[in-house]
Amino acid sequence: MATNRSAQRPNGAPQTKVCQFKLVLLGESAVGKSSLVLRFVKGQFHEYQESTIGAAFLTQTLCLDDTTVKFEIWDTAGQERYHSLAPMYYRGAQAAIVVYDITNQDTFGRAKNWVKELQRQASPSIVIALAGNKSDLAAKRMVEFEEAQAYADENGLLFMETSAKTAMNVNDIFLAIANKLPKSEVSSGGAGTRVLNDADAPRSSSCCK
């Protein structure tokens, strides 16, 4: 229906395909998930970013060559007590960014756990990106670039070291995800078709949980 309408438009500009994707951010608390999103969506950085409660919701649109990619971003809280919420958000997500802090080895270990959990529980086609954040603090580095790169290669993850503070690689990592996501007609039906499908899905599957 949507495509018919656009074809009928009188001498309109060539319409680009619009794809909508659900993207979730995961990672230990205080690694900079919210800062990454804030930088990507609003171009801002707050030195003292407040700790996220539950999960925050933001949207951002990226323009690729012939498609417009709309990200529906769920920025989850890193604190332990909210971990029970995470599955709700990575379920049905087409992309995930697992964030760790390059100055903290523990957060890298936690990131690996998140990747494992995603591989087990999330959609098998999910695009996972690993982000080593706070690359502006390279002087205090505890996680080597090569180590993380090797891990990412092993697990087929996108990998970049980012800095929400200096904006380094922030847009790039979202762009890399957008490029890797399949932009077939199925996923391009816009929010409408996808939301309806989702609404149908849990109804039938919830009984098996």
């Binding site: 309408r5 009188p10 309109g12 539950g54 029970s84 816009g190 009984c207 949980k209």
Partner: protein, 438 residues
């Protein structure tokens, strides 16, 4: 002083024939008229020959045309006397071809000259060295400078050059001029004249500008004006673009409206009736805007019957058609009562389903408990939080706030996503409660 040496340059009031030096102009005239009477005829004939040659050189047609115009002028002055008399159209001839020939030659000359200057300008501005000496050399490589040794006066204002009035060169044609007669072209602007991308590294020299003579400057400015005029948007165009952007907003709005409407008919609770009404209002406003703009376009002053008039009419018709087909023929909204009914049906169905699910989960849990009991484990429930600080409840409140915000800003796509999430959360919470009860 008589001429003693032929190679010596003679000065003064000299007779052109006998080379005698007369003391004043009047004496020279007298001398010439009395002594060289017979030679005057020769001179006259010479003058005639020169005059003819000049005519040929300057294109004979020119004078021809001038005569025609002169006659025409005389005629029009006479016409005032005979204005009342009826006149038949006399013999006429078309000078259009001649005019075109003259014009195209003239335009071509200007165009080639301007193009030459632009090419030079491009060469000058591109990779212009920042060092003043190198810059001078670079400039002279591109444009050969006129040798100034024999130029005593500024060709433009005819003032003598001296210590304070220095000789300068036009950087585009290389001719000599004084400082007062030179015009400066800002280099930032200069880099924009050729259609090539602007040079970013002109910052070092930008404070100087480029010294030009008035002639070159005018040619360049004229070209720029033409270019600017070409890019100027007409009223019609800007109105049309505005209208198109409204249409582009309207199309997704209508899609959204259809979706919301369908959702209401299906008994979903994602959108309320007031939401959908707000959306309808927004589409109405867009339609109004498009209508106004297209009316404005159609009413722009124009000669009837021209292509412009046709275009304006077509735009008006197309937009009227668009509004009628796409924006006004919106689906009717259900009434509150209808919605209530559909929702009740749905609710009942949902209740039944929930009952079924509950029973299923009950059974599942009993089965699991039996298994755990065999393994001697206690049910280490995965959720142990209590109502007050249950993260799911917390998150539900967060989502509700988001929904309110999105609704206020008419971002209904987000509302749908968030409502869906809220539903998921509620379901999750119910499951949690059920498993906690055990």
């Amino acid at each position: 002083m008589a001429a003693s040496n032929e190679e010596e340059i003679l000065e003064g009031f000299l007779c052109p024939i006998c080379k005698a030096d007369l003391k004043s102009a009047s004496q020279l005239t007298n001398h010439f008229e009395s002594l060289h009477q017979e030679e005057q005829d020769v001179l006259k004939s010479l003058k005639e020959i020169f005059g003819k040659a000049k005519k040929i050189i300057l294109n004979n047609d020119d004078t021809d045309l001038k005569e025609t115009f002169d006659r025409a002028l005389k005629f029009s002055s006479q016409e005032q006397y005979y204005a009342r008399e009826e006149q038949t159209v006399g013999v006429s001839r078309s000078s259009t071809d001649y005019f075109k020939a003259v014009r195209s030659a003239r335009l071509e000359r200007y165009a080639t000259e301007t193009n030459k200057l632009l090419i030079r300008l491009d060469k000058l501005v591109c990779n212009m060295p920042s060092d003043p000496n190198q810059r001078k050399q670079h400039e002279q490589e591109v444009v050969p400078w006129l040798d100034g040794s024999s130029v005593k006066l500024c060709p433009n204002c005819a003032k003598a050059f001296n210590l304070t009035r220095r000789k300068h060169h036009c950087r585009l044609c290389g001719s000599i001029l004084c400082h007062d007669c030179s015009v400066f072209l800002d280099l930032n602007v200069a880099s924009k004249y050729p259609s090539a991308p602007p040079q970013p590294e002109t910052s070092a020299v930008e404070k100087f500008g480029l010294r030009l003579c008035e002639h070159c400057y005018n040619l360049i400015q004229l070209r720029r004006q033409i270019q600017e005029n070409r890019n100027v948007k007409t009223v019609l165009m800007s109105a049309y673009e505005q209208m198109r952007s409204l249409m582009e907003q309207a199309t997704p709005a209508v899609e959204m409206y259809e979706k919301m409407c369908q959702s209401l008919f299906d008994g979903e609770t994602i959108y309320s009736l007031s939401d959908v009404n707000a959306m309808r209002g927004r589409i109405g406003k867009l339609a109004e805007g498009i209508d106004l703009l297209s009316k404005h376009i159609a009413s722009l002053p124009v000669q009837p019957g021209t292509r412009q008039a046709k275009l304006q009419n077509s735009i008006r018709q197309a937009s009227a058609h668009y509004i009628k087909e796409e924006l006004v023929s919106l689906r009717k909204l259900p009434t509150e009562a209808q919605i209530e009914e559909v929702r009740r049906h749905r609710y009942e169905r949902a209740q039944k389903q929930i009952e079924l699910e509950r029973e299923r989960i009950e059974r599942e849990r009993e089965r699991r408990e039996r298994e755990w009991g065999e393994e001697g484990e206690t049910s280490g429930g995965r959720v142990q939080q209590h109502d007050d600080d249950n993260p799911i409840l917390e998150q539900m409140n967060i989502i509700r706030d988001y929904i309110k915000e999105a609704r206020r800003e008419l971002r209904f796509e987000e509302v749908a996503i968030l409502e869906q999430n809220l539903k998921d959360l509620k379901k999750e919470y119910q499951l949690q409660m059920l498993s906690n009860k055990s």
